[in-house]
């Protein structure tokens, strides 16, 4: 490159940059920034990438309808790379540097716990879209995923019912971290309350990314061989599900002998699995792609069109799942609330968010609870089909209110999550104002 052309190249580059900056500044004036905090690399990328995509789709849809308060929403996407401390750093960056009005993000409980102090310190607003272990309620977080009483407990009740196989013996199998441990603590207490003794409960954990399930599947077989109907409740998270289900299939443990109900396996996870040996195993969620409602049909159509338009990897094979639906519902609820509040100010929007309703793809009008900040959700139990989708075999009559604190854990049973007067507290045993 000659000196002359290099100068030209540099100056045009600088000019381009200046132009880009200028247009960026112009944009910032009449847009509302919203943060998207999902891992796009690392172990959680497998699950969280779809949430980022569906969030962008929802924002695009809201913008096409004219945006919020007459302004377009401008997504700020950051990548915390499945690194828990980085979640906190990125959250701080979004709130302080980008000054976003709201953040949609996190998947694992540990990432949520890591950003929680940041949101509370800076009075930010986080929408958390994934089922979790409960035992939490923050002024600055709205939980659009299920609490244990909206997923785990109905699933166990189904397994104990005649239709679910009348199970008398339970294997609690999970990945070794906070969500499975807490959920299993609640489930053990619940099973005790139903008269299941400790001899009939086997609780076992594997490390993150565990890939050799031979011993565990053999142990499950042995445990199930004691003459009582046995069921497995799996809180295995992430990548380990594939080797677990492959081992299960090859060891000849069929769903008719020992049904496995999973809380972290949905349509997205099943895409990477050969589902033939899994037919009949169960999952409990608040949404399935196969739910036959006009809202869901529209949601799936929008998603398929969005995938096609943006040429996302996976193409036609892309599916919708429960956390995606929760993300979609959460963003829409926030937009409605901001519209009603007439501002994106966090305190005003928080007030408007309580009692906010939205006709979700699940087919029900879902309501955000002003007291505990959780979403009222219907519960569905689905059986895995050969095509990786679910047949709904059981559902609740309508949305169920979340219990942020489990009544089955003695210490939690006394706690109240109520952000309305006179309580104004997430984990108190008596009101703050008397």
């Amino acid at each position: 490159m000659s000196t002359k052309s290099r100068t030209f190249f540099l100056s045009s580059l600088a000019g381009g940059l200046a132009l880009a900056l200028a247009s960026g500044a112009a944009l910032a004036a009449d847009t509302i920034k919203v943060g998207i905090l999902h891992s796009l690399s690392g172990t959680m990328a497998i699950s969280e990438t779809s949430l980022k995509d569906v969030a962008l789709m929802t924002i695009e849809e809201i913008n096409a309808k004219g945006g919020v308060l007459g302004k377009k929403l401008e997504p700020v996407v950051v990548d915390p790379a499945s690194n828990w401390p980085l979640f906190a750093e990125k959250a701080r960056e979004l709130l302080q540097k980008d000054k976003v009005a709201v953040v949609f993000g996190c998947w694992t409980s540990v990432s949520r716990k890591s950003v929680l102090p940041v949101f509370e310190e800076l009075n930010g607003l986080l929408f958390y879209p994934v089922q979790y272990e409960g035992e939490e309620s923050s002024r600055n977080v709205f939980y659009t995923g299920a609490a244990p009483n909206q997923q785990a407990i109905p699933a166990v009740e189904y397994l104990m019912s005649e239709d679910g196989g009348a199970a008398k013996r339970f294997v609690l199998l999970g990945t070794d971290y906070v969500y499975p441990r807490t959920t299993n603590k609640i489930l053990r207490a619940f099973l005790h309350s139903k008269g299941v003794s400790d001899d009939d409960i086997m609780e076992t954990y594997t490390p993150f990314g565990h890939s050799d399930y031979q011993t565990i599947v053999a142990d499950i077989k042995k445990f199930a061989g004691a003459g009582k109907r046995t069921a497995v409740i799996s809180t295995i998270n992430g990548d380990s599900n594939v080797p677990f289900y492959k081992e299960l299939g090859n060891a000849g443990l069929k769903s008719t002998d020992v049904p496995v109900v999973a809380f972290s396996v949905g349509e997205e996870e099943l895409r990477g699995i050969d589902t033939k040996p899994l037919v009949g195993h169960l999952a409990a969620w608040n949404y399935f792609m196969t739910i036959d409602t006009p809202e869901n049909k529209a949601f799936i159509e929008k998603w398929k069109a969005y995938v096609k338009k943006n040429n996302l990897p996976g193409g036609d094979a892309r599916v919708t799942n429960d956390p995606m639906e929760a993300t979609y519902t959460g963003i829409n609820m926030w937009a409605q609330a901001a519209e009603q509040a007439g501002t994106t100010d966090v305190d005003a929007v928080r007030q408007a968010l309580g009692y906010q309703t939205f006709k979700a793809p699940s087919g029900f009008v879902e309501q955000l609870d002003a007291k505990n900040h959780h979403l009222h959700k219907p519960v569905y139990i689905g059986e895995i089909r050969e095509d990786g989708q679910f047949n709904v075999v059981w559902k609740t009559e309508g949305p169920i209110r979340a219990q942020a604190w489990s009544p089955y854990i003695p210490d939690s049973a006394k706690k109240v999550a109520d952000w309305t007067y006179p309580w104004v507290c997430g984990n108190c045993t008596e009101p703050r104002f008397k």
Binding site: I46, G165, Y205, D239, N241, N250, G252
Partner: protein, 524 residues
């Protein structure tokens, strides 16, 4: 009262035309509903109906070939649709499918097994009787007794006796109970301990003694089986570790390159398998079961080509500078991961087991040896043998050994050491690609596949001793087997911690690993 009378009259009228208690097939079929509750009761009725059409219908229901259309139950048989009640072929599309759940499926399975007890085929009868022996069903007692009375084949009789034994334990006849206990002592599965236990604690001294010794016999047998199981699981885990580490044993062990991108070479092998699978699915669906054989050379060449490029473009400039190599290969691994993520997406991709690798050999009711595990063990040793042959019996192997032992001398003898380096690295990478094929059959295929394997692989090579293939074998198998004997005792999490602690202690005592290189190369 009046209704009861009418019911009795009706029962009499039915009883005169039908065998006692059996419900007619036609009756059940015409009143069949598509919801799980009515399906479940219908399946129970059909199991008792002594009608060959019931078997056909239940098999179709299990396989999802039954549908409902205009109040008629249809069965899809190949390309034709037939009416369930009379087998007459009808035209048109299948109707709506019934909704099965696990309770219905379980009912179908047990009904089918009951009907199969009277099959004319000896093998089918034996399988059905064995299924009942593994999983006693009280409701099937009458069917089992009837089958036992009619049976002539000794092996089937034996299986039927075993299936009846847990039921006979409750018999009024003391002699029968004693005989049942003896049968179970010889062959019972651990599940019958729950039934034997109350008898062992009972008042009848003779029965209690027999039951206690039966429980002991069953427990002892189970202990041996458990150990055999652990050994097999260990061997299979060891093979996986070995396959993952063998390529590294060449690139790190022999060449001394700290290759942090080794895991990604495994991943490339796994993705090559995925691509070959999809090509077979699109272009050669008839030969789909054999895609794995075609995937082997493809995965080897793909990983070897990437390895060769890495060596030519980057690594050859860094020989003798381990820290820079470590950083450079770490960077390369991130680049490879991101590239794959861009091409195939961040999600897992599905790699199906071919049908000959699905399922397993049923050793006992509790223990199944899955075919894919057995194949992995065989494959690991086949790859090992091939690598050993290359090193010991080919000119390339001779030169590689010469270069590793004394680079200067080898160069003086006219060996192009640079070329040998590239070839060796490519070979190591190719072997890693083969490991990737095996991993794709056992676990998930995602861009992060390699990341999960890299630590284990280095552990195997370091533990085994750098520079020896035999070390990698001993390291892999040793880790696998020790792990699988620790896991049942202390759980997967604690087992892994104990194992790591053990490795640290071992390396303290013996830094050179299990198999140490001796001689000049050590100083060089």
């Amino acid at each position: 009262m009046c209704r009861l009378l009418r019911f009795l009259l009706l029962a009499c009228a039915l009883g005169s035309t039908l065998p006692a208690f059996a419900v007619s097939f036609d009756d059940t079929i015409t009143h069949l509903g598509a919801d799980p509750q009515s399906l479940r009761s219908a399946v129970g009725e059909l199991a008792a109906a002594n009608d060959p059409r019931a078997l056909i219908f239940l098999e179709a229901l299990r396989d999802g070939r039954v549908s409902f259309r205009d109040g008629e139950v249809l069965i899809k048989d190949g390309d034709t649709l037939k009416r369930a009640r009379d087998g007459v072929a009808v035209t048109g599309e299948p109707g709506s499918a019934p909704l099965l759940n696990n309770a219905v499926r379980r009912g179908i399975d047990s009904a089918l097994t009951r009907l199969q007890l009277t099959s004319p085929d000896r093998a089918v009868r034996l399988a059905a009787a064995t299924a009942f022996a593994d999983r006693p069903v009280r409701a099937a007692e009458d069917s089992l007794r009837a089958a036992l009375a009619a049976e002539i084949d000794q092996e089937v009789i034996h299986a039927l006796r075993l299936a009846l034994a847990p039921i006979e334990l409750q018999s009024e006849d003391r002699g029968k109970r004693l005989a049942a206990i003896r049968t179970l002592a010889d062959e019972g599965e651990p599940r019958v301990i729950a039934v034997l236990d109350p008898i062992a604690k009972g008042d009848d001294a003779e029965l209690a003694t027999a039951a206690r010794s039966a429980i002991d016999a069953i427990t002892d047998r189970q202990w041996f089986r458990d150990q055999a199981g652990n050994l097999f699981y260990g061997l299979s885990l060891g093979s996986v570790l070995l396959l993952a580490a063998l390529g590294l044993a060449i690139t790190f062990g022999l060449m001394g390159v700290i290759n942090m991108a080794h895991g990604e070479l495994l991943m490339i092998g796994a993705y090559a398998t995925y691509v070959v699978q999809n090509l077979f699915r699109s272009y050669l669906p008839g030969a789909f079961d054999w895609y794995l054989l075609a995937a082997l050379p493809v995965a080897f060449l793909a990983a070897a080509a990437v390895g060769w490029l890495l060596e030519r473009l980057v690594l050859r400039h860094l020989y003798g500078r381990p820290l820079e190599t470590l950083l450079a290969t770490f960077g390369l691994s991130l680049m490879l991961i991101q590239t794959v993520r861009l091409i195939f997406g961040a999600q897992n991709v599905e790699v199906a087991n071919p049908s000959w690798l699905s399922g397993g050999i049923q050793v006992t009711a509790q223990m199944v040896l899955p075919y894919n595990r057995i194949a992995t063990v065989i494959f690991a040793f086949a790859v090992l043998a091939a690598v050993w042959l290359i090193f010991q019996k080919t000119r390339l192997g001779l030169r590689v050994r010469a270069v590793t032992q004394n680079r200067g001398m080898a160069a003086a003898m006219g060996i192009d050491t640079r070329r040998i380096d590239a070839m060796t690295f490519a070979l190591g990478a190719g072997v890693a690609g083969l490991g990737g094929v095996a991993l794709s059959q056992l676990g998930n295929v995602s861009p992060d596949l390699g990341q999960a394997r890299i630590v284990d692989s280095f552990m195997v090579v370091v533990l085994g001793g750098v520079g020896k293939l035999a070390g990698a074998v001993a390291g892999g198998m040793g880790l696998g087997i020790v792990n699988k004997f620790l896991e049942p005792a202390m759980g997967a999490v604690l087992g892994k911690i104990v194992l790591l602690g053990f490795i640290i202690l071992f390396i303290q005592k013996r830094p050179q690993g299990l198999f140490a290189l001796k001689g000049r190369a050590v100083e060089g």
